[in-house]
């Protein structure tokens, strides 16, 4: 272990049923350094962090800190004792307690809470890190950004050597991000090693010293910021060899039915209470288009507004040029719109219900309350789609919760395809899924499009979008910044638009 190394991880292995999440990953962190950990969804970033913080225990490999070889971390407490502190994206603090308490609770400093001293210490730390909160203020009354900084302040006060920030900036606006960076630079000058897990390229280039890139559970490489230009980083993240995958777009001829050109769905000035700016959007019959942009740029919020998942507060929506009112998901479903949500666990699957019930649910709701499918009919529907999408499940009766991520996604897809929608929205359909299933889903989307279904495809993996979409709406910071179509739909153009240049539409 060199002198200024604070953390070294060698040959880390971790696998879950059916998926090898980490394949022999090495990672090293210096004292007083901000080190970015980059990689697409499912690349193993969060698994590596969870191994380091003791939420998961590693299958193989070694973790060593300065002065302690091959330490064992089995719980968040172990990590905390060793000096590794983490600030998760969903803040793990108690909203009902005061700021000061959240900083000092559970740290075993004596039986009696000395309120006066605790508040003074908390205020001292908050002032030293320039955090705009009072010690006696209730945590719930602070904004998300302030809460995150309180979590960091707690970690710092426990004189942590390694501070892990897991996607801290995903729900912050520019000013708050700026404040966070100032805090990180202070800590860096005090010698703390910071691991910064994020999706945002410009933030990495603004504050980090070194970058480690992961892809599909393997270590791509470790680079200093200076000698890794932005486009090359993206290429490493997406993996060059993905390009020579056959351009499957060519296999399926574009839909050529006589009503190929006319508009299926149109939205102008659509706005919802989820904080996105009003946007215009249209899709033709048989067309596959997509929303692209970095995580948190508002892609999901747009499609949730279309589907009525969030409360629509403005704008007008037309189906086949006729204005329709979509205020709740049922209205959208009745108009033939289907929506595969981004987060499978919270919005997608209904855990304890069987695969069959999950598949027939949407069609059942459309058919009506008083017209339940007979057991045989439901079984037929289920078996048809289990075969069609080759879903690996013991039987149609097994609860969906016990299926793997990929198969769960296929069941949800089957649910919406059973409805034979006119317009299908897929939000991150391939997130956290093995590569095999990914290609199946992409092929299926194009096949449906060639049969006349219009599809909106959202994925943070731009190569996937390139291979499937004929038109791309590019989003940044909850606004549409450009639209690419035809041969503009290529790697560099997308990167430019995302990175900042105004793309010519």
């Amino acid at each position: 272990m060199e002198e200024n190394r604070v953390l070294e991880m060698r040959g880390i292995e971790k696998s879950f049923p059916g998926v090898r999440a980490l394949r022999g990953v090495d990672f090293s962190l210096n004292k007083g350094e901000i080190h970015a950990l980059m990689g697409e969804n499912g690349a193993g970033k969060s698994t590596l962090i969870k191994v380091l913080t003791g939420v998961y225990t590693k299958d193989a490999g070694s973790i060593s800190m300065q002065g302690a070889e091959d330490i064992q971390i089995h719980s968040p407490q172990d990590a905390q004792n060793v000096g590794i502190s983490t600030v998760y994206q969903e803040i793990t603090l108690c909203p009902n307690l005061t700021v000061a308490e959240n900083m000092f609770i559970g740290r075993g400093n004596g039986r009696i809470t000395k309120w006066k001293k605790m508040n003074e210490d908390a205020d001292k730390i908050l002032r030293s890190l320039d955090i705009p909160a009072a010690a006696t203020q209730q945590l719930a009354s602070c904004s998300i950004a302030v809460q995150q900084m309180v979590a960091i302040a707690r970690a710092v006060d426990m004189d942590c050597k390694v501070l892990i920030l897991d996607e801290p900036t995903s729900s912050l606006d520019e000013q708050e991000v700026e404040k966070l960076f100032k805090l990180m630079r202070d800590l860096k000058s005090k010698g703390v090693g910071i691991i910064f897990v994020t999706h945002f390229l410009d933030q990495v280039y603004e504050v980090c010293d070194r970058i480690t890139v992961l892809r599909d559970g393997t270590l791509v490489g470790e680079y200093a910021i200076a000698d890794l230009p932005r486009v090359e980083l993206v290429a490493k993240m997406l993996g060059k060899e993905m390009d020579d995958l056959s351009d499957i777009k060519g296999e399926n001829a574009a839909y050529s039915g006589e009503d190929a050109g006319d508009l299926v769905f149109e939205a102008n000035g659509l706005q919802s209470d989820a904080g996105i700016k009003p946007f215009n959007f249209y899709i033709k019959k048989g067309e596959v288009n997509g929303f692209t942009g970095l995580l948190g740029s508002g892609r999901s919020e747009c499609v949730r507004a279309i589907f009525g998942a969030d409360r629509v507060i403005g704008g007008e929506v037309k189906m086949h040029k006729k204005t329709v009112k979509i205020s709740k998901p049922l209205d959208a479903m009745k108009n033939g719109i289907a929506y595969l949500p981004e987060d499978r666990k919270i919005d997608g699957i209904i855990g304890d219900l069987s695969v069959r019930d999950n598949i027939i649910l949407a069609l059942q709701v459309l058919t009506g309350f008083f017209k339940p499918f007979s057991r045989a009919k439901a079984q037929a529907f289920a078996e048809e789609y289990i075969k069609k999408l080759n879903i690996k499940t013991a039987s149609a009766d097994t609860p969906i919760a016990s299926l793997s991520g990929g198969n769960q996604q296929k069941v949800i897809l089957a649910r919406w395809l059973l409805m034979h929608p006119e317009y299908l929205i897929l939000d991150e359909p391939t997130r956290g899924i093995d590569v095999g299933t990914k290609v199946d889903i992409q092929k299926l989307v194009l096949e449906l499009a060639s049969q006349g279904m219009s599809v909106t495809f959202i994925s943070s993996e731009t190569d996937e979008m390139i291979r499937t979409c004929s038109r791309l709406v590019v989003m940044r910071d909850r606004k549409t910044v450009g639209e690419l179509s035809g041969d503009d739909v290529n790697q560099n153009k997308i990167m430019e638009t995302i990175a900042g240049g105004e793309a010519k539409s």
Binding site: F307, A309, K328, P329, L330, M333, Y339, P341, I346, D347, G348, I349, I350, G351, D352, L353, D357, L361, A362, Q364, V365, L366, F369, F370, P372, R415
Partner: protein, 360 residues
């Protein structure tokens, strides 16, 4: 079914109710052998006072007295599944519905000679009142998002007082003997009418579950509310409906309870029946935090509680000491169905299996 594999049966939800029934049967058989005159499974015929031959015996008493609880278990299962909480105002709402029914039937004076309104009208009024109470609870739970147990605490506190207020604290007696048939026997028919009423409610519940999507939607809302909303289900409406259905069950139970005595005692009628109804749902192996449910298991759970009560009565257990024994049974059942104990047991059995394999 090919070889019944033990694992599937073991994890099946009906495991708890069936084991309970088997144990209780064994206990009663032992009791029979000890004192020969009592025969548990015998159904003798007796003539009741109006000279009709009637079946009687422990089995009949279980079916007769257990009917109210079974009907309530239907409604309580739906409420628990949809809202993930319990309704503790059931006993009090039975008092309100019963009191309203008596007010209509007796037309305000406590000793009417003739019925002020036909019995069916009285029952309809009870249904409306039951559904109104259900609606009140439903509104607080689904719209104001108040925890079910706390929302129903309001009616629990006020219920019996409202019931007393409806009849100005009088205890009216229904004069018409036909009214008493619901709680006892219809002349000429040997089986108590309550059994028919309970059977009718169970059939209606079966039809409701078979010919509508109520079962599927309730479970969907109970397991994952936001995902069911995204699939077009209206979770608020489903929770509201479940409370309305429970209100109906309460009305039927009120009809039986009041017709057993053809009068009402506000502080005593259906005392603590809500605790038994919740127990029935738990005995049926349904999670009290909502989600997946098995209606027949809950109904079975209701009859098991009555089975336990009748068995304990045969052992000369005083009626007010009964809850202690019931508590012991509940603790045993709940401990064995708790996930922590189950993991321990399965890890224990795996170790044993591994040991066997290792050795062999």
């Amino acid at each position: 079914m090919k070889k019944i594999d033990l694992k599937k049966l073991l994890s099946n939800q009906l495991l708890i109710p069936f084991t309970a029934i088997i144990i209780l049967c064994i206990v009663n058989i032992i009791y029979d052998c000890v004192n020969t005159d009592a025969a548990f499974f015998a159904i003798e015929t007796k003539t009741n006072n109006s000279g009709f031959t009637v079946f009687s015996g422990p089995l009949i008493t279980i079916l007769d007295n257990g009917s109210e609880l079974a009907i309530l278990a239907i409604g309580m299962t739906l409420v628990t599944a949809a809202s993930g909480g319990q309704d503790i105002s059931v006993g009090a709402t039975i008092a309100i519905a019963g009191s309203a029914m008596l007010r209509v039937l007796c037309g305000g004076n406590t000793r009417p000679e003739t019925l002020a309104a036909p019995i069916i009208v009285g029952f309809l009024v009870a249904c409306i009142v039951g559904m109104l109470c259900g609606a009140f609870n439903g509104l607080l739970v689904s719209v104001f998002r108040i925890q079910p147990m706390i929302a129903t605490l309001i009616l629990f506190t006020a219920g019996r007082s409202i019931a007393a207020w409806i009849n100005n604290n009088e205890l009216p007696i229904v004069p018409d003997p036909k009214f008493a048939y619901f709680g006892s026997f219809i002349p000429g028919i040997p089986i108590p009418t309550t059994v028919f009423i309970a059977a009718a409610c169970i059939i209606v519940a079966a039809l409701l579950l078979k010919f509508t999507n109520l079962g599927l939607y309730t479970q969907a809302v109970g397991i994952n509310e936001s995902s069911s909303r995204l699939n077009g289900i209206n979770p608020t409406a489903i929770k509201f409906i479940s409370f309305i259905i429970l209100g109906l069950c309460v009305a039927v139970a009120a009809l039986i309870k009041v017709s057993r005595l053809s009068t009402i005692n506000y502080s005593v009628i259906a005392k603590d029946i809500e605790m038994d109804a919740i127990l029935a749902v738990a005995l049926g192996g349904n999670a009290l935090s909502g989600g997946k449910f098995n209606m027949w298991a809950s109904i079975l759970g209701a009859y098991i509680i009555q089975f336990l009560t009748t068995t304990l009565y045969r052992f000369q257990v005083d009626s007010s000491a009964l809850p202690a024994y019931k508590a012991v049974v509940v603790i045993i059942l709940v401990v064995f169905s708790s996930p922590v104990v189950r993991d321990k047991l399965s890890s224990l059995s795996n170790k044993k299996k591994a040991l066997k394999k290792g050795v062999a």
